[in-house]
């Protein structure tokens, strides 16, 4: 690969500023990343990390200041220019064409062409094979990206950078969607690439990962760089303090003894397919009692999404029964599930959890517009609606302009608070929660955890799915592990630990 050039700063920024309207997303950022290092960027939601990375990759452009490459200030004309200079990025959102095969996704934009300008598939496969070997991953290259497991998609995006010959890899929250074992693999791969001389910019909210892999760490807050340090000079607590400023939140949820009595929610022989028609879940049996949080641990694509969708009444099961408080909900509409007392916090905040273009008030009462409080004779009662929303948001310490502003005006963490608050305000009996704190910063995470625990303490039942084992272990009274759509093990709070859960998630037996 490219020999480490004799420069001090392989990639960086000098007094770089980017504004979105009145908001200063990057405020005079200085950044210096030495060649052949892993440099982590940490910061709360909306700190400006992704914005900075997008500018370094030429996808976005600074209003002032410059990008620095090999000690020289440069003006990138676009992502193609960045690639040409050896800089590639894995975005926070997946950047894959779903209907294309993994191989097609890999070679896109740098296709090997043979005679008559046709794509040389043999050569493509050969290079793909080499890359997979380098990453130590077994990849079925003919699989459509849409059908590939999440961790494979994540790896593919990194391999694509290597395929394009990038020696600077910008990885924006690559671990957010991975299971613990996969995270370990990824960090190992990153170390290997660094040792080969590549430079890696790494973003994560999981500070222990950051501590484990980084050579250098830059902390951002509200668009500015607030600290520069190295892993050996700091610790998780210090980093967290730097990120959030003064008020570091307390993080302690009390566990509960397993409540007795008949289950509130009970599923029998439940099975479901994903939108492509593949069997993903089941058959599984599942009971949840009032006053209990049941956590579900699984590596992406092992049926947890389908379980959530079935429990929330979004997806009709392929087989099996669902009962809530004795009421049979087989084949019922989402509306009936909700009428029966199911609340749902979606993992997909932007498309399912909220309507980003609608106002805060409308988001807050959506689904309850027929309630007499909010409408009379089919006519809405706007004053009541806005008052209810203002009351609801007041208890969440959400900062907002007006309840008439669109939900998109809130930061990601605050959007999530709004979504959860709406569901809790309906006083459900069962709350189905998926990835409640994905991409939420430390303060927001603590707040949301408290909301969920409060609900449980008031006698609510909770089905919690999360990719974060820490979250599951912190909140759950009981943890189920799913593997290949079936329950591979069940652990009480006291039995559960990262090791045991991790093993069960991968379909191995729990240690005795």
């Amino acid at each position: 690969m490219t020999p480490a050039p004799a420069v001090a700063v392989r990639i960086g920024a000098r007094a770089l500023t980017r504004r979105y309207g009145a908001l200063v997303a990057n405020d005079a950022i200085d950044l210096s990343v030495a060649p052949g290092t892993i440099h982590s960027i940490v910061g709360g939601n909306g700190a400006g990390k992704s914005t900075l990375m997008r500018i370094l990759q030429g996808v976005d452009f600074p209003d002032a200041g410059t990008v620095v490459l090999n000690d020289e200030p440069v003006r990138l004309s676009g992502p193609a220019d960045a690639f040409a200079r050896g800089v590639g990025m894995v975005h926070q959102e997946f950047m894959l064409a779903p209907p294309l095969s993994l191989l097609e996704n890999l070679i896109l934009a740098r296709e090997p062409v043979g005679a008559a300008g046709l794509i040389d598939w043999r050569k493509a496969e050969e290079e793909a094979g080499n890359l997979a070997a380098l990453a130590g991953a077994a990849i079925d290259w003919r699989l459509k990206a849409a059908d590939a497991p999440i961790h494979v998609r994540q790896i593919l995006e990194i391999l694509r950078l290597l395929y394009r010959g990038a020696d600077v890899l910008i990885l924006d929250e690559p671990t957010a969607v991975l299971a613990p074992a996969q995270i370990v693999e990824l960090l190992k791969l990153m170390g290997k690439l660094r040792d080969e001389g590549r430079t890696i910019l790494f973003i994560s909210h999981k500070l222990d990962e950051v501590m484990k892999c980084s050579d250098a760490i830059t902390v951002m807050r509200a668009g500015r760089v607030v600290a520069r340090t190295t892993a050996s000079d700091t610790n998780v607590d210090a980093l967290a303090r730097a990120m959030v400023g003064d008020h570091a939140p307390a993080l302690l949820i009390e566990s509960r003894e397993r409540p007795s009595g008949t289950p509130l929610f009970s599923a029998r022989a439940l099975a479901a397919r994903d939108p492509l028609g593949f069997e993903r879940l089941g058959p599984v049996d599942l009971d949840i009692r009032a006053g209990e949080i049941v956590g579900v641990a699984a590596v992406g694509g092992n049926g947890q999404d389908e379980l959530v969708a079935c429990a929330a009444g979004i997806l009709a099961p392929a087989a099996g029964s669902i009962r809530l408080g004795g009421e049979d909900l087989a084949g019922a509409s989402t509306a009936r599930f909700r009428a029966a007392g199911v609340g749902y916090v979606s993992a997909d905040r932007a498309h399912e959890g909220l309507c980003l273009t609608a106002s805060l008030a409308d988001n807050f009462i959506a689904g309850r517009e027929r309630d007499t409080a909010f409408s009379r004779l089919g006519f809405l009662r706007p004053a009541n609606i806005r008052a209810a929303a203002a009351r609801g948001l007041a208890g969440l310490s959400v900062r907002y302009g007006s309840v008439d502003d669109p939900a998109s005006s809130l930061s990601g963490g605050n959007q999530q608070r709004l979504a959860i608050a709406r569901e809790l305000s309906r006083a459900p009996r069962l709350l189905v929660v998926s990835q409640p704190t994905r991409g939420v910063d430390i303060a927001g995470t603590a707040f949301i955890h408290n909301l969920i625990a409060d609900f449980r303490d008031r006698g609510g039942a909770v089905l919690l799915v999360s990719e974060s084992l820490d979250e599951l272990l912190a909140l759950s009274d009981r943890i189920l592990c799913l593997f290949n759509g079936r329950i591979s093990g069940e652990l009480s709070r006291s039995e559960a630990g990262v090791e045991t859960v991790g093993r069960l998630m991968l379909g191995r037996r729990a240690a005795a």
Partner: protein, 300 residues
């Protein structure tokens, strides 16, 4: 009788197929092209003008291709660069182009609607002596013009290009995931524009086929709604050139059949509405099949 029917079916299919292949490629790139009709009309007019001026059918075809391509580019730029809704832009293009064509004919040639100059060089039919006498095949392949051959050659060529060339790959990626294509350093909007230019060029050729391949004159009604029929054909075809060709053939064949069936069973007005009903029926059938496949599931 059957020979004549088959021959006519192929002739009637050609303009629909050309436009539908263009529309298909355009759609794969992410734009549903409702303006094919206007590009056909432009191509048909220019073909007659150039053919009468120069006496060369080849030049006329080239001019029609360029005209369609330019109209396609203009339409595409409004859609891609100004983020306009493709449906309304396409409808607007059809309305405005029809008006412009009439306006142009009135102010330049002083004629309304029809332009029928002397000396229009027609596209010559290509006879294949060896096949001429062959029963069914002879009727299908012999005596068709170059654009018909081109249209059918484009079916496998398009299928092949979509799978096997880098342009095909990039086009498919652009239609499926614009942000991804941008992130890997390509220009999705330009790729999309190129696909509209391609669609426009083929629609221009379709117009030329009508005006100098079939009749040798221009009339403002010459496109006869075939742009919309092509739309139905490529919707029918989803993303497959072969299925799109089948759709085009269905309409072309129906056109050839209905002029032979008129007055026999049902009133002409209803007979002429039949292909539209068939499109709905076929889409319903496909929808049901999808639903059934989804119900029964796949092994994963």
């Amino acid at each position: 009788m059957i020979d004549a029917f088959l021959h006519a079916a192929i002739v009637m299919t050609t303009p629909i197929l050309l436009a539908a292949i263009g529309g298909l490629v355009n759609r794969i790139g992410g734009i549903v092209n409702i303006g094919l009709e206007s590009m056909m009309l432009g191509g048909a007019l220019i073909a007659v003008m150039v053919s009468a001026q120069t006496g060369s059918a080849g030049l006329a075809i080239l001019a029609a291709l360029v005209t369609g391509a330019v109209l396609g580019l203009l339409m595409s730029l409004v859609i891609t660069r100004l983020s306009a809704n493709e449906i309304i832009v396409g409808l607007g293009f059809s309305v405005a182009t029809a008006g412009l064509v009439r306006f142009f004919l009135k102010s330049v040639y002083g004629v309304s609607g029809t332009y029928n100059p002397a000396g229009v060089a027609m596209l010559p039919p290509i006879d294949i002596p060896a096949l001429h006498a062959a029963p069914v095949l002879g009727a299908i392949v012999s005596g068709q013009d170059a654009l018909t051959w081109l249209a059918w050659a484009l079916v496998p060529a398009t299928a092949f290009a979509l799978r096997r060339t880098r342009w095909g790959l990039r086009l498919r990626a652009t239609g499926a995931a614009e942000a991804t294509v941008r992130a890997v350093g390509l220009a999705p909007l330009t790729i999309r524009d190129a696909s509209t230019v391609f669609a426009g060029a083929l629609a221009g050729l379709a117009g030329a086929h009508l005006s100098i391949g079939v009749v040798g004159l221009f009339n403002e009604g010459i496109s006869g709604g075939r742009g919309f029929i092509a739309l139905a054909a490529f919707y029918f075809g989803r993303s497959s050139p072969w299925r799109t060709a089948l759709g085009a053939l269905l309409f072309g064949g129906f056109d050839a059949a209905q002029i032979r069936l008129q007055g026999h069973w049902i009133p002409a007005e209803l007979l002429q509405a039949l292909p539209y009903a068939i499109v709905i029926a076929v889409l319903t059938g496909l929808g049901l099949a999808d639903r059934r496949a989804e119900r029964s599931g796949r092994m994963g």
